[in-house]
Structure formats: C-alpha cells, structure tokens
C-alpha cells in the first residue's frame, strides 16, 4: 500500500492543493470521474473548515483495503477550538458562523463512511471514506 499523502492546510491555496491531490489519488485508486469529483469536493469542504475554524491543520489521504473492497479515506485533522456539539454540527442548516455552516452533513452525503471526533480546546478529526464499487 502506498504511503499516506499529507497536505498541510494553512491558507486558502492549500485547499486547492488538497483537492487536486485527492483527485489524483482517486484516479490512481480506480475511481471514475463522478466519484473522483465527490471525493475532491469533500476534501475541499473539509479543508475549508480547517482554514475557517481552526486556522491550520492537515488533510491526510489514504488508500484503504478491506478485502476485497478498496477505498480512499480522507482524514481531516486540526488542533483548533473543537466543535461544541457534534450532533448540532451534523444537522443540515446548522451554523455557528452565520455562513453556510460547517457543511458536514453535506460531506457525509458525498462519502460512504463518515466519523467525527471533536474535543473542545483540543481539535477535530474527521474520517470520510469512499469505497470503490
């Protein structure tokens, strides 16, 4: 299995880098154009949350295997303020910044598996996996 791809997210241009890396890895994994776009879009949203709410963090892209299934896992990790209520953040339309919200329910719809761990004052880790069909 190839090594993880790690993209540091510190400012807006890093969002573009992360989603381009994601699209390239998706193609390499064997995903078609539609799934690659869903993956790239999910990365874009997660990376944007890092920039907007945590300031900096990283996106890790990992090819995962669960015989015989193969997939791509996006890990978004930051040491930001954390999310007060993950349940609220996972509801459509919820926002703490008056914008479009964290977009987390949307990201969950783009992938097959989605987990989120957030600790106030410690940071947030999101894992989103798309399986190859």
């Amino acid at each position: 299995m190839p090594d993880d791809i790690r993209v540091l997210i510190r400012s807006n241009p890093d969002i573009v880098t992360a989603r381009q890396e994601g699209r390239a890895l998706a193609a390499l994994t064997g995903f078609g154009a539609t799934d690659a776009t869903l993956i790239a879009t999910a990365i874009s949203e997660l990376a944007r949350n890092i920039v907007s709410y945590a300031g900096q963090g990283e996106i890790i892209l990992r090819i995962v295997e669960n015989n015989p299934a193969k997939g791509l896992m996006i890990i978004s990790r930051d040491a930001g303020p954390g999310i007060r209520s993950v349940d609220d953040a996972m509801r459509d339309g919820y926002s703490t910044s008056g914008g479009l919200g964290l977009g987390l329910p949307g990201v969950r719809r783009l992938v097959d598996e989605f987990t989120i761990e957030s600790v106030l004052g410690r940071g947030t880790v999101v894992r989103a996996t798309k399986w190859l069909r």
Binding site: V16, T37, A40, T41, S44, R48, G99, G106
Partner: protein, 120 residues
C-alpha cells in the same frame, strides 16, 4: 491564477480555470463588478466548464456575483457546470437559487440575447 475576462460587445465573458482559489474567486467578484460598471455591460457569462469542484464557497461567491451584477441592471449566466460537479453540488446541498444557468457559452449568449429582447 487570475480569471480572464473577455469583452464581447455588450457582454463580458469570464472563463474560470480548474485551480481556482478563494482569492481568485474574490478577485473575480471585484473585477467583474468593476468591468460591468466601466463598460456598461448588459450581461455577464461565467464559464465554469474547466472547474472540477464547486464547493460551498464557490457556489456562494457565484451567487453573490450574480446578485451584485443584477443590482447594476445586468444579467449573469453561469455556463458549463459539468454533470459530475452538478451531482456533487446537489449531494452537498448547494443550490444556485435565482441564478441563471445554461449548458454552454452559446446557450448562455442566447439566454442573454433573449433577456435583452424581452426588456427592450
């Protein structure tokens, strides 16, 4: 990467490239509005054919652009949203409410012409 803006008669055509950052989008919003005022443009086409991701920020900015230009009395059409991009937008829950869209540049221009005829 700056978005090239072409003046075609009464219209402006902005062609977005794939690696579009948030700054590029904000720059586009500023520049388009300036040009619409400068050239007294009647319509604007934003061609997103090359854009491979339309996330929440891109969607919101395109919607803002359309609303701002409308306040100047000009129309905006977004053309060339790729099928997989449209699919991702809907999954993500993004909408372009009140924003005109068309298949490609040609249909976008036809839409602007139609609007110009109806209002004259």
């Amino acid at each position: 990467m700056e978005v090239p803006i072409l003046k075609q008669g009464r219209y402006l055509i902005a062609t977005i490239q794939a690696a579009l950052s948030d700054e590029d989008l904000q720059q586009l919003r500023r520049t388009l509005l300036e040009r619409v005022i400068q050239f007294r443009s009647r319509g604007v086409i934003v061609d997103v054919t090359s854009l491979d991701v339309m996330d929440s920020f891109a969607t919101r900015t395109l919607r803002d652009i359309t609303y701002m230009i409308r306040l100047r009395g000009a129309d905006t059409v977004i053309v060339g949203i790729q099928p997989e991009v449209a699919f991702a937008m809907v999954q993500l829950g993004l909408t372009l409410e009140g924003v005109a869209t068309a298949l490609d540049l040609e249909e976008g221009l036809a839409h602007l012409e139609q609007r110009a005829r109806n209002s004259s």
